[in-house]
Amino acid sequence: MNELATSPNVRQSNGEGPRFDPGITEPIWKIRWKMNMRSLAQNWEVFKESRVGMFGLMIIIAFGIFGLLWPIMINFVWDPLVYHPVVGFDPIMMHPSPPVAGHLLGTDPIGRDILAQLMFSTGREFLLGVLSAVISVVVGTFIGAMAAYYGGFTDTLFMRLADIVMLFPFVPLLVVIGSMMRLDIFSFAVILGFLEAFGGITVILKAQALQVKVRPYIDAARVAGGSDLHIIRAHIIPNVLPLSFLYMMFNVTAAIVSEATLSFFGVLNIDMSWGMMIHTAETAGYLFDFGKYWWLWAPSGFFITLFCAAFYMVGRGLDEVVNPRLRKR
């Protein structure tokens, strides 16, 4: 049933040879690739069953399209002087302006178009979320696999480290760091990624890797003369990957929320993001009249929540792929 959790890609290529024509001339990587594709397709079938997951995926795709609109709009449709999210200013009207024909979502206190800001920021949110999540998951998976495989000192070291990192309240810590170093979006993503990597994700992935480690095919690989590195790379990591991928989704959510919160407090060196938009409205004092100036906070606040929720939902969908017991019976 649960294809990835029982190592189809490695076990079949080693053990169940007869399924393949021994006379095939295809190189091994091609076979591996095909089998990976097949297990991907099977997982996709399971994922499709999850309504929440599919809904989240559709929202993410919609965000992707929305983000891709930015280069098109700014190069071919909009006048950069009016719509530029960071420097644009529309001199014709009073600001902040409620939604009008030229500014579908209104303008902010310094005359920039809200819609253009949202669009411009989307790509950067993707960049931030995915970058930090990829870092955390790649590092976390590798450490988790190492700790589970070697045990002993390596294990103790990383697990105690994880205990401590889990103690860190990230947001206050990042506020302290950010207020002193004025992080930009890249360094922020990297710092966040590493903080997450050494924390809870290592513990969870290590637990999963431990379950893989005791499976017979690991012993078989060792008997067959596989080196430690080979076993970790070819047998353990592929089997924890689905879980890593799941936590990647949750980490995207965490990264976006942290960025938005820090931007909101104005401690990041980022010129434009959804959190920054709310920050601008707040520092200009428009949030005291909350209902009246709704367009200053509602679109960006809604986008942050929706974006995070979408990744979270995809994570829940993946949960059903990874954990068969959660599936609809």
Partner: protein
């Protein structure tokens, strides 16, 4: 048991030391020389600088500086705040800490309880409308941008509906003529609530423990609870502190509700998932076969066992809920650790920021410890040797 506790406390102290070391090096790694900033701060008079320099060991090598930083922490000296000179950091934090603890503990207990109950219901009715609605609403709150959520709640309840006071810890107008300071009242309030909670716990522990939960024992337990609360209110009234306590509680409501809204969904969704696994266990079917009523099967079998992984995850998420708590404090101008931390960080008040960060860490460590003990009490398979028992 005692050895286990001692070992655990030892571990705790070690973890704290490492945490403090990390915070220290983090501060050292910041651009700019902190000791220079410390000494060049215009708010500190020239005369005090030499004294400070010696006290903090800034004239010595980095290693000795580090040693004196650790030593100073355990003797209650975290330096002097830049922004509130000459108030020692320790004093500021000690004053703020209880407020954060109260907010954090109340909101977390409440959100855990709400999440537990809701998760239990929606897992039991999997696939029903209530399941879908609760999941969607839960995900929305769980991923909501919490500074904005706090703003919306403030706007709705305080600004538009005028049900609850706007921000802050107390109503200044009320307290100008008060014969007590707010901290005294707050201290008694916390003590009183803790005593009430303890009393209620014992009432339910003694009366509702057995398998035969009759309606009479329920009535008795609830009656006694009401009596205890009534007595507490009467004492507060007799000492003339009632209106002040009520004022503090009114100010607490909004931040507690916000934190609960942010956090409950995490517990709820976890509880749902983990209960979807336990309902497939054989002992749940056995309980049904035994002819136990549906709610007993749900509560004592499926939910009771699903609670264990949920508590584990709660322990893992303590730090992130602390993050949310600190942000929420700032949004509500709740004068706790979070507000201090953010103000200090934004105002480059390094000693205060460091101190607040360390305090937060200490607090989280203790919370971890308590949660671990709770878990050991919940799961009979965990023996106090720290090893899961065989079987």
């Amino acid at each position: 048991m005692r050895r286990y506790m001692l070992g655990r406390v030892g571990q705790l102290v070690l973890t704290l030391l490492i945490y403090m070391t990390l915070v220290y090096f983090l501060m050292q790694a910041m651009p700019g020389d902190i000791s220079q900033m410390y000494l060049a701060n215009p708010r500190i008079p020239q005369a005090a600088r030499e004294e400070l320099k010696k006290q903090l060991g800034l004239d010595r090598s980095p290693f000795l500086q580090y040693i004196s930083y650790i030593k100073n922490f355990f003797t209650g000296n975290l330096g002097v705040s830049f922004s509130q000179y000459p108030k020692p950091v320790w004093d500021i934090l000690i004053e703020r800490l209880p407020r954060t603890i109260v907010l954090f503990v109340t909101a977390n207990c409440l959100s855990f309880y709400v999440g537990f109950v809701l998760g239990r219901i929606i897992a039991w009715q999997r696939g029903a409308t209530v399941d879908h609605i609760a999941t969607v609403v839960g995900i929305t709150f769980w991923t909501a941008f919490y500074p904005l959520l706090s703003l919306i709640l403030i706007w709705l309840f305080a600004y538009t509906l005028h049900w609850l006071p706007l921000n802050q810890f107390i109503e200044p107008a009320l307290w100008t003529r008060a014969p007590f300071t707010s901290n005294t009242v707050f201290g008694y309030m916390v003590l009183g609530i803790a005593l009430i909670a303890l009393a209620v716990f014992f009432i339910f522990w003694t009366l509702r423990r057995g398998l035969r939960r009759t309606r009479r024992s329920a009535a008795l337990a609830w009656g006694m609870t009401a009596g205890v609360i009534g007595l507490a209110i009467w004492i507060a009234h007799a000492t003339g502190t009632l209106i002040y306590i009520w004022d503090i509680i009114r100010h607490m409501m909004l931040p507690v509700c916000t934190l609960t809204l942010i956090n409950f969904a995490g517990t709820m969704l976890l509880m749902r998932d983990s209960m979807l696994e336990t309902v497939q266990e054989d002992y749940v079917m056995a309980a049904r076969a035994k002819g136990l009523p549906d709610n007993v099967v749900r509560d004592r079998y499926a939910a009771r066992n699903a609670l264990l992984p949920t508590v584990t995850s709660l322990v893992l998420s303590l730090a992130s809920s602390m993050s949310g708590g600190l942000v929420t404090e700032t949004m509500f101008s709740w004068p706790g650790l979070g507000q201090v931390l953010f103000r200090a960080a934004l105002g480059n008040d390094y000693p205060l920021a460091t101190g607040a960060l360390v305090f937060t860490g200490v607090f989280l460590l203790v919370a971890h410890f308590v949660a671990d003990l709770l878990y050991a009490a919940l799961d009979p398979r965990i023996s106090y040797t720290g090893q899961p028992a065989e079987g």
